[in-house]
Amino acid sequence: MLNKASTPAEKIVKVLGYIFMAVCLIVALFPIVWVIMSSFKSNKEIMANGLALPTSFAFTGYQEALKIAPILKFFGNSVIITCCSTCINVLSLAMAGYIFAKKRFRGREVLYAILSISLMIPMTSVLHPVYLIINKLGLYDTKAALVLVYSALSMPMSLMILRSTFEGIPTSLEEAAYVDGAGFVRTFFQIMLPCAKGGLASAAVLAFLDGWNEFTFALLLTSSDKARTLPLALSYFSSQFSFNYTAMFAAITIAVIPSIVLFAIFQEQVVSSMTAGSVKG
């Protein structure tokens, strides 16, 4: 209401703001739109003019892409691995977060500080030790290896989010459960966990995205199709795709669309988890 009375300078700022917004949006979306558009063009059309719109709307590229590379198999691996790691991550850190939030014991703060160190370590620095440990455990080239590593990846964020979630739940609720005769485990699973839904969802979204998009450890710890994940599929088969650009663009589109759809649906959740994770950090 007050900004009706804006000065010429402020009007210019406003117009510049709109231009800036438009440029950012175009920069962010152009590469993806270009890839999706190209996936409907024939090889000839792609080579003739990289910017032209497709002349027909054919899905042959998608059929060929699925034939050339076992994308669906990799997709399945990704779903299994990421779902398992997300569940393990959220459950184990919910248990720990609950203890840190509600129980007093000797060394509590020290242990919490030690666990928080994980936030400081760039995971690329420990590629070799992790590889060594996975090998020693006999897990090389198994889905379990990636489940284990991905469960730990977003550990610091999950711990911070879940600890503060449980701190926000009144202790009286817990005491009431004890008075009613519920044991420790039942109190946690039937009373505390349902109250922590918001924090659990935030942690789960972050853990899922971390695992779903991870590339480095997937590359390092797998050697066959039985455990490879979707992020590897594209680069791994890029040689098979050479000279069939339509299929390659289709494959990229297949890999990208699920994340975009998930984000569109869970947008508010993603934004609030990111904020929750970073404020505590």
Binding site: L2, E10, K14, G17, Y18, M21, L25, V27, A28, P31, I32, W34, S38, M47, G50, I88, L91, A96, K103, F105, L111, I114, L115, M120, P122, S125, V126, L127, H128, P129, V130, Y131, L132, L148, L153, M155, G183, F184, V185, F188, W212, N213, L219, L220, L230, P231, L234, S235, Y245, A255, V256, S259, F263, A264, Q267, V271, S272, M274, T275, S278
Partner: protein, 291 residues
């Protein structure tokens, strides 16, 4: 409530096991083995003190250029990238027409996997049908066309552009913080006659200072985790012109089987991360209270 005491360690155990296997033990191993001559071919494992580090900094012709690449990328990312994202957040928090669409759309490149982004840019930069050269041709600047990712002169900036402009995380975080500022503060400033530019710079900016600091730390950490986008596009070349420390660690380990040396690089990565974190926290006075 005596039974409590038994359950505390049981509830902590899963998280501690994860921490031990993926963080603590690797961290110890990386520090210890960096002091050893530890190779697969020929198979050796003997204590050599700091000689891996001495070799890194004085004898390895690749290391210093690669270190420089890494530091330059951290610096660019912590400044340009964060400024871009923050600027957009300051435009969006006034809720101009379409602000939600821009917020969502700008986030999309950050939500899809880095390897997909890398594949997309590999094609965008393609010499024959890539969009970059196609645009140049269509506006008559054919002489500016390059094989962007594989030309010595353009590889570094071309790779940098793959992540530089996509500051969706920064925008989203700073925007969330800006939107949580109490409206009455802004109204009070308006009543006192402050222009919207003055409000942005004198009131809002100091209020979101810590969040911007957080995004700078995240930007530095992101550059130290950077791997797939280089591995897939240039593979670090030509020469080592687009190699960073994580990629160098990976090739040292996978191609040369020189594990002690690779882990010395790992320690350097950890050290850079720690220094960045402390420096940025100081710069943005993140330990101090606002009020």
């Amino acid at each position: 409530m005596k039974h409590n005491k038994i359950w505390i360690p049981i509830f902590l155990a899963p998280a501690c096991i994860l921490f031990l296997l993926v963080f603590a033990l690797p961290l110890v191993l990386v520090f210890v083995t960096s002091l050893f001559e530890y190779k697969l071919m020929p198979n050796t494992f003997s204590f050599t003190g700091l000689s891996n580090y001495v070799k890194l900094f004085t004898q390895d012709p690749n290391f210093l250029p690669i270190l420089k690449n890494t530091l330059v990328w951290i610096l660019i990312h912590c400044t340009l990238h964060v400024v871009l994202g923050t600027a957009l957040a300051f435009v969006l928090y006034k809720k101009p027409f379409g602000w939600k669409v821009v917020r969502t759309g700008y986030m999309i490149p950050n939500i899809i996997s880095q390897s997909a982004i890398a594949m997309i840019f590999l094609n965008l930069y393609n010499a024959s049908f890539g969009a970059v050269n196609s645009v140049l041709k269509s506006i008559g600047l054919e002489h500016l066309c390059h094989n962007w990712l594989f030309d010595n002169n353009t590889a570094f900036p071309a790779v940098t552009m793959i992540w530089l402009l996509f500051a969706g995380y920064t925008t989203t975080l700073v925007l969330a913080q800006l939107l949580s500022v109490d409206e009455s503060i802004i109204e009070a400033a308006r009543v006192d006659g402050a222009s919207s530019l003055q409000i942005d710079f004198m009131i809002m900016f100091p209020l979101v200072r810590k969040m911007i600091g957080t995004t700078v730390i995240m930007a530095a950490a992101y550059m130290l985790q950077l791997f797939s986008m280089i591995y897939i596009t240039t593979g670090g070349g030509p020469g080592v012109s687009t190699t960073n420390l994580p990629l160098y660690l990976y090739t040292t380990m996978k191609n040369r089987y020189d594990y002690g040396y690779a882990n010395a690089i790992g320690v350097v990565i950890i050290a850079i991360g720690a220094v960045c974190m402390v420096a940025i926290r100081k710069l943005f006075r993140m330990n101090e209270e606002d009020y």
